[in-house]
């Protein structure tokens, strides 16, 4: 047993209202830059739907993740390193920009400086890639709320597995939102795909990162990731991905998407797992056994042997204690949380509590009591369609664990109604799903009313590990830190490595002055922090231009 710690997230889908606050705050923090206009480390997709990038779940097409060979070993679906190297200059498995979307802006200048015309001025869309006029025909979230369902629904890789009749019925009955970030997998195929060794999984907390120095832009990680959560920056020519907001996590703060989540549906915490058994678990024969295999390598943080092992592995005491208080561990224990697409065999570590509300909706829509445990249990048994869909998402098609999760959520709903309306604690409801009333009430507390400190249990990083954690190692008197200015001698990707906090400082300073408008006169006020001046806001006459000297430093995310 080799005990390791993994920082993980669980999202409770019943509470997601599809507001995209998470996407916007994430983008503002991480990818509001040239080269990554089309990139959303966090995206929220309507399901059923095709997702972002379009149809990413179709691994026949994209070849992401792992497959198990006849001999019981894992290999990358897109082939080994040799096969990949042979395709290095023409990678057919790589999504094109139109599988994401062609990013655009508007001719905003027209609203201010339009010549005298017959009609009211208007800003028309312009491609951010070509600068040309365009008709917007796809976006980062085109099929929001089943918009355009007729055109796109048949391309939902999950629905294509289901019959046509099911499809039609499905669209009418069932809809939910699926927020997605990188899964920070225990067995990441992105890391395995990289020919340059630029991708790595941090030992301390399992966050998967790209070393910007090492990355040579082969993009094997992009095709290797079955969730399509590595992106290519077309300006720097390097891969970028969700960082789990590690500069925040290291100081005990939740990720930006969690911090700003309107539904308060995200949970963050550590789990301990047995690193020795990861490959074994990822290679079990039956896809449907993968969930259990993954659950099996997650270790009980209260088990003395595990604690011993953790200490032996150098995991600090407060981390062990945090693992014991972890909401992730608790929700996994209740068996209400499930991984997304375990059949990709990457052992993803962002899990989901499947939505019960579609079931409740069907029940109440048919004139029955959506809070009565027996009715709900019966509906869960009967509603094969939505449950089949959820099983394709979360359990490689096995409906039993989805059933079990939904039954527990249903039991909680009706048990708690008894408590709040009739002041009755009906143990039978709890027992029917293999829990006690006390456990149900604890689970309810975690799912319904948990406050910030209970949802996010994040031990801060240790200074004794600072050598490995770039962000902590550097103080602000670092060369090139604030006040030092300037990038490396050969542009922004050269010179010594720069901690992200320092780099962000420079990027911000630079953005407000250096953002090159794609259309003349365009001012990106989103980037502007109130200091200095922005080009194009006022006619140059009579204005003194103030520029901030900052330049972005070199980007490096590793330790």
């Amino acid at each position: 047993m080799r005990v390791m710690a993994q920082m993980s997230m669980i999202m409770n889908l019943d509470k997601c209202i599809g507001c995209h606050t998470c996407s916007v705050t994430c983008k503002q923090a991480w990818t509001n830059r040239t080269g990554v206009e089309y990139v959303w480390f966090n995206n929220v997709e309507t399901r059923p739907g095709v997702g972002y990038p379009r149809g990413y779940e179709d691994q026949e097409k994209w070849g992401g993740g792992w497959v198990r060979t006849k001999r019981g070993r894992l290999k990358l679906r897109s082939g080994g390193r040799l096969a990949k190297l042979s395709r290095i200059f023409s990678n057919p498995k790589l999504p094109g920009i139109h599988d994401y979307y062609e990013p655009w802006t508007y001719d905003y200048d027209m609203l201010i400086n339009a010549p005298r015309t017959a009609h009211t001025p208007v800003a028309r869309p312009k491609s951010l890639l070509t600068g040309e006029d365009m008709k917007i025909s796809w976006s980062a979230n085109w099929d929001d709320n089943l918009g355009g369902s007729l055109e796109t629904m048949q391309d939902d890789p999950i629905l294509t597995k289901m019959s046509e009749e099911v499809q039609a019925e499905f669209e009418k009955a069932f809809m939910f939102y699926l927020p997605r970030i990188c899964e920070h997998c225990l067995n990441p195929s992105c890391v395995a795909s990289c020919p340059s060794g630029a991708m790595y999984k941090r030992e301390e907390d399992g966050i998967v990162l790209v070393d910007q120095d090492q990355c040579r832009g082969w993009r094997m990680c992009v095709s290797g990731c079955p969730y399509k959560k590595v992106y290519f920056n077309h300006r720097t020519g390097k891969a970028e991905k969700c960082t789990f907001c590690y500069p925040r996590i290291e100081v005990g703060l939740p990720t930006v998407c969690s911090e700003t989540c309107v539904g308060r549906l995200r949970y963050l915490g550590l789990v301990l797992y047995d690193a020795d058994r990861v490959s074994e678990a990822a290679s079990v024969e039956d896809d449907k056994a993968l969930l259990q295999a993954q659950r099996d390598i997650i270790l009980d943080p209260h088990d003395p042997a595990v604690i011993e092992g953790a200490r032996a592995g150098g995991i600090p005491e407060d981390w062990i204690e945090a693992a014991q208080r972890s909401p992730i561990w608790k929700l996994m224990q209740y068996e209400v949380a499930l991984p997304l697409h375990p059949e990709y065999r990457t052992m993803p570590m962002v899990w989901y509590i499947p939505p019960l509300s579609p079931v409740v909706d069907v029940v109440t829509g048919s004139g029955n009591d959506g809070e009565d445990a027996r009715t709900l249990f019966a509906a869960i048994d009967k509603l094969r369609i939505p449950i089949g869909y959820l099983a394709e998402l979360f359990t490689a098609g096995d409906v039993a664990p989805v059933d079990a999760s939904l039954r527990r959520l249903a039991a909680m709903r009706s048990y708690m109604r008894g408590v709040s309306i009739d002041d009755v604690r009906d143990e039978r409801i709890a027992n029917a799903v293999g829990m006690t009333g006390t456990e149900i009430e604890e689970m309810y507390r975690l799912l319904a009313i948990a406050k910030y400190e209970e949802r996010y249990v994040i031990p801060s990083a240790h200074t004794e590990q600072a050598h490995a954690l770039e962000e902590m190692a550097c103080s602000l008197d670092f060369e090139g830190g604030p006040g030092m200015g300037g990038a490396g001698p050969f542009g922004s990707s050269s010179g010594p490595s720069v901690p992200v906090a320092v780099e962000n400082f420079h990027i911000l300073a630079d953005r407000q002055t250096a953002d090159r408008p794609s259309t003349p006169g365009r001012v990106n006020l989103l980037n502007w922090d109130g200091n200095g001046d922005a080009d194009g806001l006022f006619p140059p006459t009579g204005m003194t231009e103030v520029r901030t000297p900052g330049k972005p430093g070199k980007r490096k995310e590793d330790g």
Binding site: I17, G18, C19, H20, S23, V24, K27, Q28, Y101, P103, W104, T105, Y106, Y108, L111, I112, A118, H119, T120, P121, V122, A123, R124, P125, K135, I136, S137, S139, A140, N141, W142, D144, N145, L146, G147, G148, S149, L150, E151, T152, E171, K172, M175, G365, G367, N368, D369, S420, I421, D422, L526, D529, G530, N531, L537, F538
Partner: protein, 892 residues
């Protein structure tokens, strides 16, 4: 309730009041506003707490809901010796119009019985008995037409009947009703209706609201935390209300403020009235007695203004400053001069001639609002008549025989009434696009301000993260600069003047007793404050306006501050504010409290409101205790010493103090819920009976057939205005396909999930997460009818204008209805329309203003004007539109 003969039968009439009882009861002060109930012996009782007890000195201490040992029977049938019953006629509006008289719309009468008794010589029943009749709840032994059960669709009120209208299955409706009531019973009233904007944007929104209130009241959910009615649109709660009102209306310097009803103002200013002609009698009940005969809804507005029910500005056909000068020259009091001139016809109301150049609005100053991209219904009429820009109004003006009777028709419609449009904003909106002047404004991260809402009980501060950048200024500075310049100019141009303000009969004042029994009379002379608006002369010190703006005026100390009929005396607060803010050092107002910065103005608001100043909350409750005779002050006493200052709210948002300014209670850490004080402490509602009302007995309500909450279908725009009929298609042929057709559908403009009106959705991120421009959601079925595929360019038009947008085709849309989300500005991706040859419109290019007469009633109990509470709504959901595919080559 009295019953009165009408239409060959009996109809519900007026509330029985003390004045009907004769004897001592009838001679009590304000007896016609003291409603009556029966006790268990059937004897009439005049209970405490009705409007008649609210303002009279004799009734001090009895304005409360304490019934003592009286237990009123809900139904007369509960009284052993009730043995009479009669049939009453109740209007219904669910019928199709009769062949040959489609213009009159579908309505009819249902006959149902109620138990009755005779009291003081009048035939009476109870409101509850009438409600049961209205809702078709059969009881043994009553005459009339009753449903045979819930599954009987033939008569109004049953679950099966509603199914045919709403398509909600009868069983589901019945189950929902049962669950709602059962849950309310078991949880002590914790059943709640949570609504968004949807229901209040219908023409007949008031009947929908009243239905909600009836349901939540009957199930005992009002005033209960977790129960009742959570209305979630446009009813923003300014928690620190009293201080806010002082500051916003300059009540420390001049009272009353000159206010207006926006809906009617725009209706006239944008000349929508010229196209409307909605006949008021077509809204009327088949049992109507002629209130609306041969009149349009615009005529009802004229009557409402003349009676002082609703404010209107400009008020008269002459400048009110000049009216004062005229009076002085004639040696009369200005009010008398106005009354005399109105009586002899030498003066008229501006609403009677809105197209006279002297009645045009000339200058409009918009402060952070988007009337041309968001709120203004009838956008194209705004463009045409108010601004005189390109516009796509397609309607023709009302033909001569259908025009308003009481508004002067001028053959040449004014084009471009406005001389100057000035907007202060920090976004480029449709409104700033059309403005002559745009004043760049600071955002909320660049200024000091206060914020509060009905969604939570906290007061927040705004504090600048940065200073206002570039040329922007805070709104405080903008108003300050304008005031300075205005004052300078006023020295030469205006000087000190007297002005006469026509103030409407105001809610929460004795004005609301102007109309006994809700019977407007035509046989009375003009008496300001009774049969017309109050006429109040104020002095305007224009040259000193800026100085006044920067200082606290004397009226706050002299007259106190009255909010909802409770007067607060902030004597201690003024002294404290003088210390906190400092005093004016020199000039005409030396010694006054300084209000020359945004923070100081915030301090005033916090110091002068009960919700943020415990001393005032307690003071207000003590005054209310005198009036009600009920113990109330304890709700705020534990905070009597608390005074939330601006720096307090800068540190963190502060929970408000329970105050008589609002009806909920935060006492003991509890969360606010409306009406808690009424329910728990027997403080009356501000209504005629002092209770929640199912029944409204104003004459206009009766003629509308809306005495009781009733079902009214959406307006039939086809019948009323000749628009297409929803659900029909029409072959048009045309340039893109020989077989091209268009389809007519219902047009809804719901609030979108990604914006607050036009704001936020136009951010580039949000546009990238959606479709990047204006769209219309339509059903697969409708799309198929007109050969439209997802993301095709379409045009939607009706009599009001044209919209160009891309279609979002989805299974989630029901056939026959399209959505265009509210407030997509005209700024991005709006091509030229084929239909008009002009820039495509906004969502409100297809809507317009429609006035409902019931919203114009004033001067009677709860039916009285109150700023941001009661007045005509903007409604747009009854609209329909016709949709066609257009050339996919769009031009900008």
């Amino acid at each position: 309730m009295t019953l009165e003969p009408n239409g060959g039968g009996l109809v519900p009439g007026k509330f029985l009041t003390a004045s009907d009882l004769g004897g001592e009861a009838a001679t009590a002060p304000r007896a016609e506003f003291k409603t009556v109930l029966l006790d268990q012996s059937g004897a009439p009782v005049v209970p405490n707490g009705s409007l008649g007890h609210r303002f009279t000195p004799e009734d001090e201490g009895s304005w409360n809901l304490d019934l003592g040992d009286v237990t009123p029977p809900l139904s007369l049938a509960d009284l052993a010796d009730t043995n009479e019953s009669v049939e009453v006629l109740l209007p219904r509006f669910d019928l199709p119009p009769e062949a040959g008289s489609e213009h009159a719309g579908g309505s009819g009468v249902v006959v149902r019985g109620v138990p009755v008794r005779r009291v003081a010589g009048k035939l009476v029943t109870t409101v509850f008995d009438l409600l049961l009749a209205q809702y078709g709840v059969a009881r043994a032994g009553l005459p009339g037409e009753w449903p045979s059960g819930y599954d009987d669709p033939t008569t109004p009120g049953t679950p099966a009947w509603q199914e045919e209208i709403t398509s909600v299955p009868a069983e589901q409706a019945a189950r929902l009703g049962r669950e709602f009531a059962d849950n309310a019973e078991r949880s002590g009233g914790r059943s709640m209706i949570l609504m968004g904007a949807g229901t209040n944007h219908w023409f007949h929104s008031d009947t929908i609201y009243r239905t909600f209130l009836a349901l939540t009241t009957m199930t005992g959910c009002q005033g209960v935390n977790g129960g009742g009615w959570a209305h979630y649109v446009g009813q923003e709660k300014v928690r620190p209300l009293t201080g806010y009102s002082q500051y916003a209306t300059a009540a420390d310097w001049i009272r009353p403020p000159r206010q207006n009803i926006g809906t009617a103002f725009w209706y006239l200013a944008t000349d929508q009235w010229r196209y409307d002609g909605l006949p008021a009698d077509q809204l009327a009940s088949p049992l109507a007695r002629g209130v609306f005969q041969d009149r349009t809804t615009a005529d009802c507005l004229v009557e409402s203004v003349k009676r002082g029910w609703m404010p209107a500005h400009p008020t008269f056909s002459r400048n009110p400053l000049d009216l004062c000068d005229e009076a002085e020259a004639a040696g009369k009091e200005p009010a008398q001069h106005v009354v005399d001139s109105l009586t002899d016809g030498s003066l008229s109301y501006a609403v009677e001639d809105p197209d006279a150049p002297e009645n045009f609005p000339r200058v409009i100053d918009i402060w952070r609002a988007n009337v041309l991209g968001s709120s203004g219904k009838g956008n194209e009429y705004f463009l045409k008549h108010l601004l005189g820009t390109e516009s796509a109004v397609r309607a023709s003006e009302t033909p001569e025989d259908a025009r308003p009777r009481d508004i002067r028709w001028r053959d040449d419609a004014p084009i471009g009434k406005l001389d100057l449009l000035m907007t202060a904003d920090f976004r480029m909106t449709s409104t700033t696009l059309f403005s002559d002047l745009v004043l760049p404004a600071a955002t909320w991260y660049e200024k000091y301000d206060l914020s509060s809402t009905d969604m939570h009980p906290f007061i927040h501060s705004f504090s600048p993260a940065i200073n206002p950048p570039w040329q922007t200024r805070t709104d405080f500075d903008i108003f300050g600069s304008l005031a300075e310049r205005f004052s300078q100019l006023a020295r030469t141009h205006l000087g000190v003047r007297r002005d006469i303000v026509a103030a409407p009969l105001q809610h929460d004042t004795a004005d609301v007793m102007a109309t006994p029994h809700g019977v407007p009379r035509d046989d009375l002379p003009l008496i300001p404050g009774q049969t017309m608006a109050k006429l109040i002369v104020v002095e305007r010190d224009y040259p000193n306006l800026a100085e006044q703006w920067k200082a606290l005026g004397p009226l706050t100390a002299k007259l106190g501050m009255t909010t909802k009929a409770v007067t607060y005396r902030p004597d201690v607060e003024i002294e404290r504010l003088a210390r906190l803010n400092g005093t004016v050092a020199s000039g005409p107002f030396a010694g006054s409290v300084r209000l020359d910065s945004d923070k100081r103005a915030c301090e005033l608001i916090l110091a002068f409101s009960g919700t943020s100043n415990g001393r005032l909350a307690v003071q207000g409750f003590r005054e209310l205790e005198k009036r009600t005779g009920q113990r109330l002050a304890h709700l705020a006493e534990d905070h009597e010493g608390a005074h939330i200052t601006f720096s307090d709210v800068q540190v963190q948002p502060r929970s408000v103090i329970t105050s008589p300014e609002w009806s909920g209670s935060e006492h003991g850490g509890r969360r606010y819920t409306a009406f808690a004080i009424n329910v728990e402490h027997l403080k009356p509602w501000h209504t005629l009976t002092g209770r929640q009302h199912f029944y409204l007995d104003h004459d206009w309500m009766e003629d509308l057939g809306e005495n009781l909450p009733t079902f009214r279908p959406p307006l039939d725009m086809h019948r009323l205005f000749g628009d297409g009929r929803p659900g029909t298609t029409r072959r048009i042929g045309g340039p893109y396909a020989a077989q091209q057709t268009e389809v007519t559908v219902r047009y809804l403009t719901p609030h979108s999930k990604w914006s607050i009106h036009s704001e936020y959705q136009d951010n580039l991120f949000m546009l990238s997460l959606s479709r990047g421009g204006p769209t219309i959601w339509m059903s697969a079925e409708d799309a198929r009818k007109v050969d439209v595929r997802d993301n095709d360019w379409i045009e939607a038009y009706n009599r009001n204008g044209v919209v160009v947008a891309r279609a979002i085709v989805s299974h989630r849309m029901p056939e026959g209805t399209v959505f265009m989300y509210h407030a997509k500005d005209r700024t991005v991706d709006v091509p030229i329309a084929e239909t008009s040859g002009q820039r495509g419109g906004i969502h409100n290019s297809l809507t317009r203003i429609l006035l409902k007469p019931s919203h114009l009633i004033g001067g009677y109990a709860q039916l009285a004007w109150a700023f941001n509470y009661l007045g005509p709504t903007g409604n747009q959901r009854d609209e329909i539109t016709t949709i066609r595919r257009r050339s996919q080559e769009v031009e900008y």
